[in-house]
């Protein structure tokens, strides 16, 4: 829990990669065995540090994908101009070590300690911390109504697609809405446009229902979603955002 972080420094430790899972052509999940992992909250992230033979180092932050208490997994998208993400997606393999510290962040988190509705809005790899929240809800058998609105360019770029399909089919109280903005397969019944105010109106609860909202994606995506929710009358303080600029990675 976050409270433990105040007790001491978040120390660097070498975790062991126990498995990797290719989610899409550009996205990989890395399962890690971190001996001194203090546990985490859904929505938190870790810092990862790579070190070359000559001592050169590069650090980045990655959202945790796994539910609290369900081990440590990160899901990483390869950025073509990136320095760290190509290594994590293409080079790193089971048995390797990976230096990290965490968990980090105490605001963009969902603990599931009340039954308020939760709206999750993801753009691309912004799904990762929100997936931790969905998994957490299922793990603790929360009765908080949860909806995910997930924007991807194409069906092949939908991360966790099979798992989300299973959640949509099986989980009571969890609803999944996809929108594909660039291309849609034949017979597609989901949304087929960028998220706009009307789409948010259809998917979100009324502001009076007091839903907590988590939005994660690129800056342009988050700005558009947050503006749309404000225009629908949602309380700015109910909307938590996490943005990535798509730089460096």
């Amino acid at each position: 829990m976050a409270g433990t972080a105040v007790l001491g420094r978040l120390s660097w430790q070498v975790a062991q990669v126990s498995a990797t899972v290719d989610e899409t052509a550009r996205v990989r999940t890395i399962r890690l065995d971190a001996g001194q992992w203090p546990g985490h909250r859904a929505g938190q992230h870790v810092d990862v540090r790579l070190t070359a033979e000559d001592g050169y180092q590069a650090e980045r932050s990655y959202s945790i994908a796994s539910a609290p208490g369900q081990g440590l997994e990160i899901t990483v998208e390869r950025l073509e101009d990136g320095e760290v993400s190509p290594y994590l997606v293409d080079e790193l393999r089971a048995g390797d070590g990976l230096e990290l510290r965490g968990p980090i962040g105490g605001y963009f988190v969902w603990d599931g300690d009340d039954d308020r509705p939760v709206l999750l809005v993801a753009g691309g790899s912004g799904i990762v911390p929100l997936m931790a929240m969905i998994r957490h809800r299922l793990t603790i058998e929360s009765s908080a109504p949860m909806r995910l609105l997930y924007s991807s360019r194409t069906i092949d770029e939908v991360i966790y697609r099979d798992e989300l399909d299973r959640v949509a089919a099986d989980a009571e109280g969890v609803e999944i809405f996809h929108t594909l903005t660039r291309a849609q397969p034949a017979g597609w019944t989901g949304y087929a446009r960028r998220i706009d105010q009307e789409l948010l109106r259809e998917v979100s609860w009324a502001p009076a229902d007091g839903a907590g909202v988590f939005v994660c994606g690129s800056t342009r995506f988050v700005e558009a979603v947050a503006e749309g929710l404000l225009a629908l009358g949602h309380d700015p303080l109910s909307i938590k955002t996490e943005r990535f600029g798509g730089t460096g990675g």
């Binding site: 976050a2 972080a5 105040v6 007790l7 001491g8 420094r9 978040l10 070498v14 810092d47 540090r49 790579l50 070190t51 070359a52 033979e53 001592g55 050169y56 180092q57 590069a58 650090e59 980045r60 932050s61 320095e83 290594y87 080079e91 390797d96 070590g97 990976l98 230096e99 980090i104 962040g105 105490g106 605001y107 963009f108 800056t219 700005e223 947050a226 503006e227 929710l229 404000l230 700015p236 303080l237 909307i239 938590k240 955002t241 943005r243 990535f244 600029g245 798509g246 730089t247 460096g248």
Partner: protein, 201 residues
């Protein structure tokens, strides 16, 4: 203790750091990423004001009054706790020192408050002596709302979350009290050269 080596990692070394201007753990970017905990506020200038509380009496400037104060154009490097650094950014603003000259106080700390509810804490000595500004222009243009416009605090020698966007004033304090990120796992002071990112660093 020998350092852990990441098997097969070369690193891009996209640019050298010839003058030692990139703090540990940071990488350079030419972009200007945006990080905010919530939606971007849009306060009209006619309703905008800047207030310093906690002195002998509160002192408030309207937008026009703030813009009538002497301004400075300055070039600084900025360092975000999410690891990016950006060199030679050009800003225009009013020095915090200029504002504090109008306030009768004996405080050692401040909490900056903002539209949207964000706060951040700073020692007074880190915002005086030409080290901090209320900035309203970036790269010769009015500051974009997603980057903190109409005005943001700029304290470039600390991690960039201290440079509070949408700033509306200061509460002067006798004690150092944690602000928003400082209450959510991030360091109370935030010196990038000592890599003070998180609690306990």
């Amino acid at each position: 203790m020998p350092h852990f080596i990441s098997r097969g990692f070369q690193g891009r070394r996209r640019r050298d750091d010839p003058e030692g201007r990139v703090p540990p753990g940071q990488y350079l970017t030419d972009d200007f990423p945006v990080l905010s905990a919530g939606p971007t506020p849009h306060t009209p200038l006619e309703r905008w004001s800047f207030t310093i509380r906690g002195g002998a009496e509160p002192v408030t400037w309207t937008w026009d009054e703030l813009r009538a104060l002497p301004t400075e154009t300055f070039t600084v490097d900025i360092h975000c706790v999410t690891k990016w650094s950006k060199l030679d950014t050009v800003w225009e603003g009013v020095s915090v020192e200029t504002l504090l000259e109008h306030v009768d106080h004996h405080s050692d700390y401040l909490v900056a408050f903002c539209d949207g509810g964000y706060t951040t804490n700073l020692p007074l000595e880190d915002v005086t002596g030409g080290k901090a500004w209320i900035a309203f222009a970036y790269d010769g243009e009015p500051l974009d709302p997603e980057h903190g416009g109409p005005a943001r605090l700029l304290v470039p020698h600390l991690y960039f979350w201290k440079s509070a966007k949408w700033v509306r004033g200061f509460d002067l304090r006798d004690e150092d009290e944690p602000g928003f990120w400082e209450s959510n796992g991030y360091h109370l002071y935030g010196d990038p050269w000592r890599e003070q990112r998180y609690w306990g660093d």
